[in-house]
């Protein structure tokens, strides 16, 4: 019985993931096992769940006798992390495969929760399809790889063509500097005071979204960044940091954005994507590439006219310097936990879940930017969404977060600074000062250096 199952498993796996992967599983004897897969399924974020259901069926068909137990965790992002950290902490509860955000993966690597995948990836022919930047997203300080990226994202400006045209701005719009963005917003406001000129996320309720879509989209367009990888020091205070805060202050106090109280509502993301943009009440939105997945026929708020109503423009650098435009990228990976008792099988699951076809269908459904070269070159993927080409085109100018173990706390300190500035509780200078102090507390004074002044 067992041997028959194994033979079948072998045959199936050979079809699905290639012979190399199979040989390792058959040696460990895999009949009658259960693999646990933990991931987040929250609100309208249903695409990962759909993807896992599909891969489960494929994997079980290819590996008779092995059961995939899906563990969708139905909570917000912070609670999801609490839960998987607790689960991964002990061998009796650890899932085998876990869905990890690249922004937190380093702290989980440091906690010893994840298993290095190098030995599996070295025999996985598909791995060569992943570009180095993508591989780096899940690389630990020890140089080993702890996750396979599912996709990535970029960020840019969405604009309402109608509202901008009415304000006298020529189409297609591509601002060259921050000043151009502000000028367009002011023109919209002057033309129609009932419209919200632009949206930039800022403040704690939106969490990492504020840090990345809001602050880092400004900061990484200045001469400064958050972290200098050459000197291995975190940067503060810096001119770039205070200029970014000043930009937010001017935008918010100048009435170019949502009122701060609305911005600090935890539901602001839903309001922007679900109401303001579809109702043409917002002219410019600095947001992520995935936002359009809200409006597809299977999305949370179907809006067929979105692609003709909205245009996209790359975010310019502060004064048009550098590469002229910029973006920020994040993304999620699938990883194998350190306490998994079936690491070989788990690695095979990851490889199956992110093979070409599965990566492609997931990236299309979830509005992700493909990381695999073969998927990126695939016409079905390219034509799946009118904005795909645009957002993929931002990859050459994009930046990645310094996703070290301390990063989540640094991100929070940034949100605190933004919130203090947009509510008028602090001046940009004071907010930067307290950010610098917090940063020293988080990473240690010796790891902080001033940027340009």
């Amino acid at each position: 019985m067992l041997s028959k199952g194994l033979r079948l498993a072998c045959a199936g796996a050979a079809v699905a993931v290639g012979l190399t992967a199979c040989s390792s599983s058959s040696s460990s004897g895999s009949g009658g096992k259960t693999l646990k897969v933990a991931y987040q399924k929250f609100g309208n974020e249903i695409h990962v769940d759909a993807h896992m259901q599909k891969v489960k069926a494929q994997f079980e068909a290819a590996h008779p006798g092995i059961k995939i137990q899906l563990d969708p965790i139905n909570v917000s992002e912070n609670d999801y992390y609490t839960k998987i950290d607790l689960m991964m902490g002990s061998s009796s509860t650890a899932p085998d495969v876990v869905y990890e955000d690249t922004f937190l993966i380093n702290s989980d690597i440091q906690a010893g929760y994840l298993t290095p995948l190098d030995s599996y990836l070295s025999t996985w022919s598909d791995w060569s399809q992943f570009p180095d930047t993508a591989k780096a997203a899940a690389r630990g300080l020890d140089g080993k790889t702890y996750g396979v990226p599912m996709g990535t994202d970029t960020r840019a400006l969405y604009y309402n063509k109608d509202l901008l045209t009415k304000a006298g701005i020529a189409m297609p719009w591509q601002p060259k500097t921050w000043a151009d963005v502000v000028a367009a917003a002011k023109a919209v406001k002057a033309n129609d005071p009932g419209v919200i000129p632009m949206n930039i996320y800022a403040g704690k309720p939106d969490g990492e979204g504020s840090t990345m879509q809001g602050f880092e989209m400004l900061l990484y367009g200045t001469q400064d960044t958050l972290y200098n990888s050459a000197s291995k020091k975190w940067i503060a205070p810096s001119k770039g940091f205070s200029d970014s805060l000043q930009f937010l202050k001017d935008a918010y106090s100048g009435g170019l954005t949502l009122p701060p109280q609305q911005e600090l509502d935890p539901n602001v993301g839903n309001v922007v994507g679900g109401q303001l943009l579809p109702q043409s009440k917002l002219a410019i939105d600095l947001d992520g590439s995935w936002v359009t997945s809200t409006w597809t026929p299977t999305g949370a708020k179907p809006w067929p006219a979105w692609s003709s109503t909205l245009g996209e423009a790359a975010m310019p650098t502060q004064d048009g310097g550098g590469k002229g435009t910029m973006s920020m990228s994040g993304g999620w990976t699938l990883s194998v936990t350190a306490k998994s008792k079936n690491k070989d099988l788990a690695a095979q699951f990851v490889e199956l879940a992110l093979n070409k076809d599965n990566s492609a269908s997931y990236d299309v459904a979830d509005g992700q930017i493909a990381v695999r070269n073969d998927v990126a070159a695939d016409p079905t993927y390219q034509n799946s969404n009118p904005t795909t080409a645009f957002f993929t085109g931002l990859v050459p100018v994009t930046n990645y977060r310094p996703a070290y173990a301390e990063y989540p706390k640094v991100s929070d300190a940034i949100q605190v600074a933004m919130e203090a500035v947009i509510t008028g509780q602090s001046s940009p200078a004071d907010a930067m000062k307290s950010y610098t102090e917090s940063l020293k507390g988080i990473v240690g004074s010796s790891n902080v250096a001033a940027g340009t002044s």
């Binding site: 992390y81 902490g89 440091q110 010893g112 704690k204 009122p259």
Partner: protein
């Protein structure tokens, strides 16, 4: 007249009585005494295993850098008093202590307690229909799950919420209450949610105040307020102490309501200690520092309890 003040720990009730048999000397008596306490055992075991154990562990971990992820998860280190030093130099904690005290005084001591007493007093002698209806409305606010109450208040006080619709209709103008006065918002919401408890306690206590006592005072010409102050309130004194203590302890640890309504913001304007504790322990996964904050919360609870027992100690 005798006061029963069970909960305040002042055991004036039923003096200890030996039990079925008269006390014997030696082992047999000790055995009997031990057997009598036996029914306590299951409760003790549960409390020690699931309560005392974790609490002691929490106290221990407040002296470490234990964390859910990162270095502190792999090798938690003993950091001595670091967490406590950080606690007292952290302006958000100092602010949090203040907000917690305001929250307890505002929503428990003043809000729930006084409003509950007022409703109970007003209900006396009203017709049954009015009593029943108002009572049911107040109690329904208490029975609803905390998350649901939080949603309701989030919607009620929001920019487009019911309250602003009313104020706009009255021509007072609207504001975003959760943003402009977050503490007031959560205090009102918690008062709404908890008043029923105090009302029920005082209803029961007042039902035992004999009407003739009041009438006697009335015949003496005592005014309504004086009657309340010098006759009624002293009679329900132990109910007041108990109620204050219970609602204070419950209010101190209110988390979900505040978290859903304001998430502690804007800035840190409504970050009471439980909200800060949650953020430290679970958002930043710093379990050690988070538990240090919760020990602080316990200390505040102790201070309140001490004050109640001392100041309002029932006279024998």
């Amino acid at each position: 007249m005798r006061f029963r003040a069970a909960i305040a720990g002042e055991d004036l009730a039923a003096a200890a009585i030996g039990g079925p048999t008269s006390p014997r000397r030696g082992r047999a008596a000790r055995l009997t005494r031990a057997t009598r306490q036996l029914p306590l055992a299951p409760a003790l075991i549960m409390l020690i295993l699931f309560f005392l154990g974790p609490v002691l562990w929490s106290i221990y971990s407040s002296f470490t850098n234990a964390a859910l992820t990162g270095d502190g998860a792999a090798n938690p280190q003993w950091v001595g008093l670091d967490n406590f030093r950080r606690l007292f130099s952290d302006p958000n904690v100092t602010n949090g202590i203040w907000l917690t005290v305001v929250f307890v005084l505002g929503s428990a001591v003043i809000g729930q307690n006084l409003l509950g007493l007022a409703i109970a007093l007003l209900m006396r002698g009203r017709n049954r229909w009015l009593r029943g209806t108002v009572g049911a409305i107040v109690v329904s606010a208490w029975v609803l799950p905390e998350v649901v109450s939080a949603f309701i208040w989030y919607a009620f006080l929001g920019q487009d919420g019911t309250l602003n619709q009313v104020t706009k209709a009255l021509g007072i103008g609207s504001q975003d209450w959760l943003y402009s006065s977050p503490m007031l918002a959560v205090i009102i919401a918690n008062t709404w949610r908890g008043t029923a408890f105090s009302m029920l306690v005082y209803n029961a206590a007042l039902a035992d105040v004999p009407l003739d006592v009041q009438e006697a005072a009335e015949l003496d010409g005592a005014s309504g307020w004086r009657r309340l102050w010098s006759v009624t309130l002293p009679l329900i004194r132990s109910a007041i102490v108990t109620n204050l203590m219970l609602i204070t302890l419950q209010t101190l640890s209110v988390f979900t309501l505040i978290y859903v309504m304001t998430a502690g913001g804007p800035g840190f304007a409504s970050s009471t200690l439980p909200v800060l504790m949650y953020q430290q322990a679970f958002k930043f996964s710093e379990v050690g520092y988070g538990t240090a904050i919760s020990l602080l919360l316990l200390a505040i609870g102790a201070v309140f309890s001490f004050v109640y027992v001392r100041v309002l100690k029932p006279e024998a």
